[in-house]
């Protein structure tokens, strides 16, 4: 549904997005990650046709966003960063305007608004003006506006920003449910969100694509990906380590800490992790080592994120002129 090829954006001499390509199909939720100032919002603004491209091409459902903007814009719903809305309008008035401008009218419009209001739980605030709403409600109004016309493409810039944990959970459920029939792009810097809802992840850093793959592949890039944490009842770690390192499945066993009667170890798999855990357990049983803790650690996404991206402190803020 969304094709971006070699998209660039310069503000004056400064390159904010330097040649990013990706595509999103129906049923996919693309997580768009990057540190603040990496060019996430700028890229989203180019996809939605708000900012002109300096070079490259973006199509939505086959329509070029620069050449057929109106047709392309008809196909997506967009929740911009901070969910802007006309502050002096009522929620009902704002949704009515959003529906009319998407060419909905009559019963279709009424149904679309009723559906969005129900999905976003806005029943109680319909007649309130938007400037009187809490941040959570304001975000939901923005989201309601984006899904109003049931678009095949959803583009959400930090959809859970400023929501409380319950609302976050609800928003994720909503996104997951919609993902079955839509192509969705979600930008975020909350990594748990990526694990929770995304089918694919791209990370950009300083305007460059540094990762494009599944959340699982991202986890595997973690420096401590899939190591085994083990606490054995033994007074000394050396014999345990020696025994474990003899196993073909084990690359290395490392001492993490020594307590009074136990030792904690980290065991790294050699190559594939297939029957790594069971081999370790079997060896422990055979040697009658008693253990009180044995679990597989998954790669921590924030570690991968930190290793792939650099701090934006040097680069300054994202290009809002």
């Amino acid at each position: 549904m969304i094709e971006a090829s070699n998209v660039r954006k310069n503000f004056g001499a400064r390159t904010v997005v330097g040649g990013v390509s990706f595509s999103v199909g129906k049923g996919e939720v693309l997580g768009f990650l990057g540190p603040n100032g990496a060019g996430k919002s700028t890229t989203m603004r180019m996809i939605t046709g708000f900012l002109p491209l300096s070079a490259g091409k973006i199509t939505i459902g086959g329509y070029d966003i620069e050449e057929n903007p109106v047709e392309a814009k008809q196909l997506f719903g967009y929740l911009p960063e901070n969910a802007p809305a006309y502050q002096d309008m009522t929620v009902a008035g704002f949704l009515d305007f959003s529906a009319s401008i998407r060419r909905l009218s009559g019963k279709k419009k009424a149904d679309a608004i009723a559906r969005a209001v129900k999905l976003c739980h806005l029943e109680n605030v319909l007649q309130q003006t938007i400037d009187t709403l809490s941040k959570g409600y304001r975000h939901r109004v923005g989201f309601a506006q984006a899904i109003l016309h049931d678009p095949p493409v959803l583009i959400l810039d930090e959809p859970t920003d400023g929501l409380d944990p319950n609302q976050k959970h609800e928003m994720r459920e909503l996104i997951r449910e919609m993902s079955r029939t839509k192509a969705i792009i979600v930008s975020t810097h909350i990594l748990e969100e990526v694990e929770a809802i995304c089918t694919r992840v791209i990370i950009i850093d300083r305007g460059k694509l540094v990762f494009n793959g599944t959340p699982r592949e991202l986890q595997e890039k973690a420096p401590y990906g899939h190591r085994l944490r083990l606490t054995v009842c033994a007074s000394d770690d050396a014999p345990v380590r020696a025994m474990l390192e003899k196993l073909p499945q084990v690359r290395k066993a490392e001492l993490l800490g020594k307590q009074e009667k136990t030792v904690s170890l980290a065991v790294y798999p050699a190559g594939s992790e297939k029957d790594f855990v069971s081999a370790v357990k079997k060896a422990l049983d055979e040697h009658k080592w008693e253990f009180c803790e044995l679990y597989l650690e998954h790669g921590r996404l924030d570690e991968v994120f930190r290793s792939l991206t650099t701090s934006d402190a040097v680069e300054g803020k994202e290009g809002a002129a």
Partner: protein
């Protein structure tokens, strides 16, 4: 075209739900009455016409029309709704036209509300309806031109005050270049005659004075409409190139 109507409806709705509209209307009506009766000497003239009423509009509108137009785009930029509006399936010309027409309709309503002055002259005497009709047409066209100019300055900035001051100055310039004291000064400085003609031709004052006196000249109408169209065109180009 449907989008234009949708935008007009939204803008008018927003105008009339905010207190700004009512404050504007009250000030506008009070000032126009004050100028007509107290400074224009409506009664002293002892003539059943509205020239003392229409005469003040180029000046009155210099302050009041930018107050209507200044928020058009500046407010959208400040609130971030510009991003929302331009990522909806709306073309820039539609958005520019919709916002302009909504403001113009509002100013039209303000003009209609001055009708008691017409009833007054009709009650006091039997005025010639011609100059009243052309005078109101002139006021409406003038309001449109000023509004388009304020919309243009509004598109440049996210600050309403900057927009207000710039458009006021621009409108003032457009009046002054044809204002007799200024043209006389140019004459005294020995400016060639053709520059005087040119500056008078470009001036709002010159074209408005004709209509106010009841002269219906197509050139005046073309002047106001093309000034409006030009300002709207610039607005569109600015928005196209300076969206963020």
């Amino acid at each position: 075209m449907r989008n234009v109507l949708t935008i007009i409806r939204r803008e008018l709705g927003a105008t009339f739900t905010s207190p700004v509209a009512y404050v504007f209307l009250v000030i506008f009506l009070a000032l126009s009455g004050f100028f007509t009766f107290m400074i224009g000497g409506f009664f002293l003239r002892n003539e059943a016409d509205l020239s003392s009423f229409f005469f003040w509009f180029p000046w009155l509108f210099i302050l009041l029309v930018p107050a209507v137009g200044m928020r058009q785009w500046a407010e959208e930029r400040r609130q971030g709704t510009l991003e929302l509006l331009f990522t909806m399936p709306v073309s820039i010309p539609e958005a520019v036209l919709g916002k302009f027409l909504a403001g113009w309709i509002f100013l039209g309503i303000a003009l209609v509300l001055t009708c008691p002055i017409v009833f007054t002259v009709c009650y006091l005497g039997s005025p010639d309806p011609g100059p009243i009709a052309t005078g109101y047409t002139g006021c409406f066209l003038l309001a449109g031109a000023y509004l388009a100019i304020s919309g243009m300055t509004s598109a440049f900035t996210r600050n309403q005050i900057v927009s207000f001051i710039t458009s006021t100055v621009l409108c003032l310039l457009l009046v002054l270049i044809g204002f007799p004291p200024v043209t006389n000064l140019l004459l005294k400085w020995g400016a060639p005659a053709w520059t005087l003609d040119l500056s008078a031709d470009l001036s709002v004052f010159y074209h408005f004075t004709g209509m106010q006196r009841g002269v219906f000249d197509l050139r005046d109408i073309v002047y106001f409409l093309s000034l409006t169209a030009f300002a709207l065109f610039v607005t569109g180009s600015v928005l196209k190139n300076r969206r963020a």
